[in-house]
Symmetry: C2
Subunit: 865 residues, 2 copies
Amino acid sequence: MIRNVLLFSEGSREMRDVLGGKGANLADMTNHGLPVPPGFTITTASCNRYYEEGQRLQKALIDEVEQAMQQLESMTGKVFGGKENPLLVSVRSGAAISMPGMMDTILNLGLNDETVQGLIDQSKDKRFALDCYRRFIQMFGNVVLGIEHHVFEIRLQALKEQADLTDDTQVTAEQWEQLVSEYKKLIKKHTKEDFPQDVKTQLLQAIEAVFRSWNNQRAKIYRKINNIPDSIGTAVNVQMMVFGNLGDDCGTGVAFTRNPSTGEKKIFGEFLVNAQGEDVVAGIRTPRPIAELAQTMPAIYEQFVQLCNLLEHTYKDMQDIEFTVERGKLYILQTRNGKRTSQASLKILVDLVDEGVIDTKEALRRVDAEQLGQSLHRRIDPDAKVEVAATGLPASPGSGSGSIVFTADHAEEQMKKGLRTILVRPETTPEDIHGILAAEAILTARGGMTSHAAVVARGMGKPCVCGCEQLSFDPENNCLWIGEQALKEGDWITVDGSTGRVILGAVPMIDPELTEEMKKILEWADQYRKLLVMSNADNPVDARRSVEYGAQGVGLCRTEHMFMDPERIPVVQNMILADSFADRKQALDQLLPMQEEDFYGILLAMDGLPVTIRLLDPPLHEFLPRIDETTSGSMDEAIVRKVKALHESNPMLGHRGCRLGITYPEIYEMQVNAICRATKRLIAGGMNPIPEIMIPLIGHVNELRILREMVERVIQKEGLADRNIPIGTMIELPRAAVTADQIAQHADFFSFGTNDLTQTTFAFSRDDAEGKFLQVYVDQEILPANPFMTLDVDGVGQLIRMGVEKGKKTNAQLKTGICGEHGGDPKSIAFCHEVGLKYVSCSPFRLPIARVAAAQVAIAKEAGC
Amino acid sequence: MIRNVLLFSEGSREMRDVLGGKGANLADMTNHGLPVPPGFTITTASCNRYYEEGQRLQKALIDEVEQAMQQLESMTGKVFGGKENPLLVSVRSGAAISMPGMMDTILNLGLNDETVQGLIDQSKDKRFALDCYRRFIQMFGNVVLGIEHHVFEIRLQALKEQADLTDDTQVTAEQWEQLVSEYKKLIKKHTKEDFPQDVKTQLLQAIEAVFRSWNNQRAKIYRKINNIPDSIGTAVNVQMMVFGNLGDDCGTGVAFTRNPSTGEKKIFGEFLVNAQGEDVVAGIRTPRPIAELAQTMPAIYEQFVQLCNLLEHTYKDMQDIEFTVERGKLYILQTRNGKRTSQASLKILVDLVDEGVIDTKEALRRVDAEQLGQSLHRRIDPDAKVEVAATGLPASPGSGSGSIVFTADHAEEQMKKGLRTILVRPETTPEDIHGILAAEAILTARGGMTSHAAVVARGMGKPCVCGCEQLSFDPENNCLWIGEQALKEGDWITVDGSTGRVILGAVPMIDPELTEEMKKILEWADQYRKLLVMSNADNPVDARRSVEYGAQGVGLCRTEHMFMDPERIPVVQNMILADSFADRKQALDQLLPMQEEDFYGILLAMDGLPVTIRLLDPPLHEFLPRIDETTSGSMDEAIVRKVKALHESNPMLGHRGCRLGITYPEIYEMQVNAICRATKRLIAGGMNPIPEIMIPLIGHVNELRILREMVERVIQKEGLADRNIPIGTMIELPRAAVTADQIAQHADFFSFGTNDLTQTTFAFSRDDAEGKFLQVYVDQEILPANPFMTLDVDGVGQLIRMGVEKGKKTNAQLKTGICGEHGGDPKSIAFCHEVGLKYVSCSPFRLPIARVAAAQVAIAKEAGC
């Protein structure tokens, strides 16, 4: 028979899934001989069964609870519902994953009109006992019977006003007695039933209430935010009450074993003399710093410090401890791993390693890789008060403040004057590039996470908020409306690309930094990880930055951003507008030396490291201006005609990638030519350039066969045949994945382009889906996560696995990696390791995340998880 | 050692791959004792080796040819290059697959200044011998030495003019002798070398020339058109010459054993007395009908008729025979299966079965299923002279003539007057539906094979040509330009949706018909096929038509076309424009009875047969008017706003299919409700409606789980739970295929939507790809075929296979089928059979194709191919 109820002494630390975190810790502390008030835990499975049975407590459970109460009575020598020496208990929730404050607790359970007399006799403190009783009725009424808190509070306030009292401690026993009586009437009025005098009824109803609180609104939201499954359920801990409010040799407090803000190794917390725990939390009285306990109760303090050390060593982590002192005796009510800031988190890990408490593997295991990455962008001081005016998509992380400009030219002008601007546009086009470059941050009203603004901003590491639909442009008055607020050019705003917030005015910022702790952790990570970590970098600045952040090469160098450079755009447009091969060739001849410089710079920055250069990928119309109602009149007719000719109803599925290379081979030839020339110049200068050439959007082996021949021909012509420049392809179409065995015969490497692969596998246009239905899908849990953020292992992942397996079957030397945005996502990186990829490539700022995540999965796999 | 050369007597009919079709037939006829001039065949492999060796004849081949010539000499008693009784030969091409007229032939080879004297002595006809010689030099000069034909012809013409002759037969021996001398000088002049007198040199050069002709321009194009691989090569047949031009007891002719136009069982052909074969082909003299041979040479005719019967029985097919009579002796030079019209083809097959020559399986094997389908549309009389003004995409087959109208309203007005119109539009929108319905055919300037016009037209069975880019609209002059030609409303044009032709004026049409032969063949097909054949039908008319054509149910009933009905569009638009659930519900309540009628009609038409109804699929903006420069001013502001809000950058990957059902469940609920109500009314009327409900665009199991629950809830509410209405899904996304095991747990059937699956697997937007790069891909053989026409077995096929296997793994009862356009394509149907699908579903007019193709693959598999 599976037991529903276990005494603390019957449980263990390993039973966290069954007993919840709190229950497992209480059991563990009990087993270690710590001063824990005795009690028992109702399992998480019981909670699930409660829901399965239509929210009814099972007979078996009730029996076991009664039995456990009897054992508790014999352990404490107290009697539940007894007139003398009554046993009072707390009833608390506790899931396997900590959800602090989300579920309900009932204290002082077991009091009724009879047992309160027993408590008076026992404590010799009528005022205390009646205070307990009224607290219990209030809590029970609220939590179990669902009567709102303020209904009771109003009565208490009225009583204090009548008696002209300011503080609860001034209330007399008789006044509490009167309040008890009023509270009971309130309960009768609201529930049409008497407050239950039967203590067993009290207990069972309280247990049910805790079960129910698993599905209250705030608990459900907390679980969703923290990706905690709904299915795990909560345990219920029933524990003998101890009292911190029996006099001045009593007290209660909460403490962290280290500073949760900074990580400093020093006990941090608060306590109150003569008080119950809830007083500390409720803020009714101002608690005193824990250090003062050394003066107030020196022996207790010393014992507490020892226990803190013991608990830290036992749980090998900073602890968050609740304690109570009852008549000079210290009780530990709860211990758990303490929440902390990301900064503190890293310091504590490094310190724990230095102290020999944990090893580097364990430290890495505990790093929140995602959190690590967040600290690498300039961001809004979390302590600053901000006025959020609107919210859009968090398209490129980091924050920027500046004065509003509506045009790219204006942004550039301002920058030349040394002024900071935020470029605000309905959406951006390639012609805005110089503005994006000049601005501190970008804000657009339209476009998704892969819109032009988003992609370019991420590439440049500029903060960007996209698709902020609350923005409304008013060209007549040359202003911008956010709701009722009109903003003009020159007004200051702040854009937070990490959260999507648009804030009025400037706000204080925190600069990004690779702290000493981070550096240490990243060094450890490099010792364990199997995956190479490469960067997505399109220019020398990004390339250099990525080396700083630990990149072992460039895994994706996109050439389209080079084409979008404002100086080049006219030449690129000439190339596209060319009606004849000769005209196009002429424009390409002009581009050749520019591209050569691009590649020279990047290969130089990455000297001795591989640089995977992807040939031109986007559809050509992306390099032409956009036509809409406002622009069509003023534009050159030839351009308008060409824009219309190049129009596609689904450009994502259109004439792009290697399809351009097939139909306009001269463009790819020019690019390969430029790569070869840059390589030769670097070799001549004594450097060691390692270019690799990547063909995008291959769907059929013949495309790669033809283009590889072309690339090899150019390399040969340029006299670089003996450098063995690797030639590979993106695997970003389902067809490429399922025919990878054919394609691998012509590829030196596969780079899984998971952005496009996700789009085509799901048939989700990222731009369209994120604004329209994808959020609904994630909210309704139709999808476990946004598949553009975390790789869809079931679907897209299967295709990647197939691609790797089939590819290696026909080409054992094949190098495989990933260069979509998933390359910087910890969960996705774990999958990449599992599936046997050789490298992940991500944006420079995500490199630390990738390094740690790669180490984490390597360590986990080594441990056999 | 692999032999390069085989005597006819050493070959056999089975060696077609090695000896080519002609060589294998000559061998076979030789072995059957037919009067075939002796000779030998050089294998197709020798041709490939010739190319592999850089277009040089191998020593081994030359040796074998010489040896074979010696054998030929001993068989004929003639001497190659002999002064007396010289052996003359023909050298002809002959690939494994017939390519009539595409490659080269040399006749009379072996003549030189000495042997011509031998021929004079032997034939006792100097004029004949010198004629042969000049023919040979001319042919050799042209075919082997590459001198253009007219260079020789001019000399012959000059000679005849000088001598005032009108006909070649009037030329004297001396004049031929003079021409021979002139021809030899011509050759010296053009090649700087003498005409080769050495007969072995002649022979080897001629063999090389035939090899080379394998890769001449017309042969390459013919192979591409007919999907003949370049790799199979041609054989070369060297055969003793016989002469039909030695006098009036000689002659030559070509005959079919049955009429190739009608299929009538009667020898059909032509002959010439005293002539060589090329005279018949060249049209220099007018040949006489074969029947007259009975008068001219009664014994020969009788022998020929017998041989025709023998050959037909041997080859079990209508034969195309070349014959020569040399001095009263009949020689068969060649026999092959004759080309024929599609009408003749069917009649011959049915007759051959009736005559007991072949069985029904063999007959079915030989049917060209695709050709069968073509005859089912009204089409332009192939004998009519037409003026093609422009060409677009053949979007919906069939042809229509009518007067041009530029608006849907005008088309409708004209129809009400009983007038036939062609609706010509830049592109169509849902608001044009009534015009498409009213017009004979549709012509658009923009849009691909899946554009609105194309889809709607195919659904209605209306001829349609799309994306005809030569059209240019001139609204100012209310006319349409095709090149220099201005067309006004009222001008007549003809649209050929089978070929994409746009023709000026009206042209004679042929009506579609299911002939007796077709009916017989379809009956046979039904006996063998394993696949069920269903139709894609959206209305009662199509449903009834499809039953006529043999549909066993409706495999795809699209509901969006119902929404596009002009009476509904305002209601549908209200539904879409609704800002609140209540407003939307009101519009849906209006649609409910209309949809009920739709389903009632179709279920009634298909009484007792399953009807798979697909819930709404396209993105909602398809039901709103399109906004462009010309319309935006005049439109209701609310509509403009909604159109903009619904705008998607890649609608194919956007908010459509089941994503609508998830976000607007009330739409799907209304549809299921309507299905249930129609079903109940039919049951009450004593009918047996069998609806099945299909959810489109499922990508994740949770979508289907949620929507299935919703559908079941409605069915339950309507009291139809015990009808067990099957609920299934389209598998049209790569993710659905790879996670089919999960999805199948909630599906009663899978219908592979191969249009969308092809789009997403390749990332080809059909609309964009076909106009831009897909043609290049097919032309350059990057893809073996347009994957929207013929299923891409390697890529998309793998996903289908995976979908079927995984689906059946978790749901053994799962019914699987296909409902994309591939469901009507023979090659794709073969794949469907192989992969174990239960049914194919296609448009009504393609049902006969599907029935035959399904039988063909069943027969082939049974035979173990």
